[in-house]
Amino acid sequence: MKVTNIGALGVIALVAFSACSSTPQAGGGKTIKIGTELPMSGAETANGEPTANGVKLAIKQANAKNEVPGYTLDVNVQDDAVNGAHDPQQGATNMHTLVADASVVGVVGPFNSNVAQAEIPISNAGGLTQCSPANTNTGLTYPPDSLKYRPNNPDKINYIRLAAPDSIQGPAGADYTFNDLKAKSVYILDDTETFGVGVGNSFEDQFKKDGGTVTKRDSAPKSTTDYTPLFTAAAAAKPEAVYLAGTTPTGMGLALKQGRTVAGFENIPFVGPDGIADLGPGGTTGATITVAGAGAHDVHGTVAGIHDLPAGSTFVADYTAEYGKAPGAYSAAGYACAQVIIAGIKAAVAGGKTDNAAIREAVRAGSTAAGNKFDTVVGSISFDKNGDITTPYMSFYKTDLTAEGGKGGWVYVKQQAFTDPNAQ
């Protein structure tokens, strides 16, 4: 840990130094960067990599079209996974690195809510826009919770997100479990993290409102190796479904695998948020279906984004051609976040801004400016005064172990549009 920190400090120093000494290249135009801050290794590969690929594709296509005249766009990739799972401290270190890199004018990320909690104060102090494709914790944007992440500049919103918050995701999962899966009772297990507890709470509230029963609620930290006693204890009340409030890398994949071996849980549906529905096919490193193996049958999940891209979109074809595989759950959202930042850069440059710091500030101020709309791969979108997308979507998926040529995969069930959560 210590060694990593010292190394990271070294990186910051180097970046700061090179930023001071770099001179604009003649001819090819100036290079301006979009950062990505995602978990890229280990069990998180299925989450971060396809999302970062979406960003890279957007940058590549923008450069090909010379979207920002006089500038070449580039990417600064940061990885917040430590020992194969996302780590808030690493995220904070990475955010310091990105803020210190003067050529970075916007960041796509992070993926996980507890990482966002650690990063927003740093990016806010640096005036750096963060567009998260996947964060869903409600308090990240909702006041008064959101204010404590902006102690320096409470009035400057620099954090926007494309994913629908858990105040939508949890209840959507609950309605789906109660109405579509027809389960009247549920056992809830969370991973004790910011995201897991938050989405578990909103699921629980809505499921009760629907008229369902929560037979038991448990919390188990990611250091848990044995989930069988939890499921054995929960079996007594005979729940008709299980809600895994958390992510596969924080133990919920293992919980699914072990839960399936306990009497009473062999065949009932397991439902989860987007931390479970990573849309990775079987065999993908760290994907839910890979971790749970044969136990991954009858698993349902919500993804806090749109599935059916607007008609005429070539995104899926372009992505598949570039990377040789289908997009992940948040690839399109990553692409759209990059588009929002690129649009901001374009407007700033067109408005005569040449200094990196001025472009950075223009991108930030433009993202939540009233009436500002962005044409993206997920449609024409805008962000409200808190930084939330005004047209959130929720998509539903389930596993099919015969899909993907027998390796197992996620199949699309339906999608649903919601209204601006802050307008309610």
Binding site: A43, D218, A220, P229, L230, T232, K257, G293
Partner: protein, 329 residues
Amino acid sequence: MSIDRTRALRVVALVIGLLVVSFVVLGVQQFQNFLTLGAIYALIALGYTMVYGIIELINFAHGDIFMVGAFVSMWILTVPLGLSDRPIENPLELTAVLLVVVFGTMLFMGLVGAVIERFAYRPLRHAPRLAPLITAIGVSFILQNIVQAIFSPSPISVPQVFPRVKLDLLGGSIGVLNIFMVAVALLLMVALQLFVGRTRLGRAMRSTAQDREAAELMGVDINQTIAITFFIAAALAGSAGVIQGLYFGSIQFNLGFFAGLKAFTAAVLGGIGNTTGAAIGGFVIAFIEVLAAQLGFSRWSEVAVFTVLILVLVFRPSGLLGHALGERA
């Protein structure tokens, strides 16, 4: 053999008491989970306590030896045996596979343990106590990083070759795999007791533990004895690794950290240096964890485990069974 009769009776009473209480408190289903988890902790704790008994080293790399054992068993199952996630129904074939995996892993891990002792601990045998302790932490990191480099930091699936057959026993449904695991653990524990108590090498171990110089003067080959102790300790941890993989089905390079910490607690709980105590300590910790899950306090289970450790250290500093100088090894 000077076994104190009252002591032996107390141990038996403790074991029976623990079993009865846990059965009544937990019910059949959770009793099964408790025994399975306890078997894993006990097997790891035995190695901790043996090594401490003989050279007074808290071998912090021991949890990682368990983790490496789990990966070796996964490798044996998938690469040389070429098995996948399909239960083997033929009992003869299953027995053959299990024998190969269990003994293959134990042998390999035993050698790993002996090699680690030779190169990491033996050169420091006369150094101040802190030196080998730091080395042990270093070895722990080395093992974790080697496994991470070879197998990636992601959770790795272990082929589920053991059929998930359940028997109706004692009014509940008990997994055959659970019975197998507990049986293997008990068998190894009994074998260890017999080895330490009844064989020449075992006597050499006990005498080395008691007084290294005197044992050496009496003709005991100290280096060989300590190497064998490490071999056995690591082989036992390896067997726990096999069980972990077969039962939980998913292993990760950092698996050894918490398992090692809990097994160490078990060893201290039972009286470090005392093999019977370590085994009992392992089951006590499993009982606390399963009880916490049963009562819905799973997020506090680690707090409960370490609270019990503190209480035992305050009121019985030498552990539940004491150091048992005479028979430690």
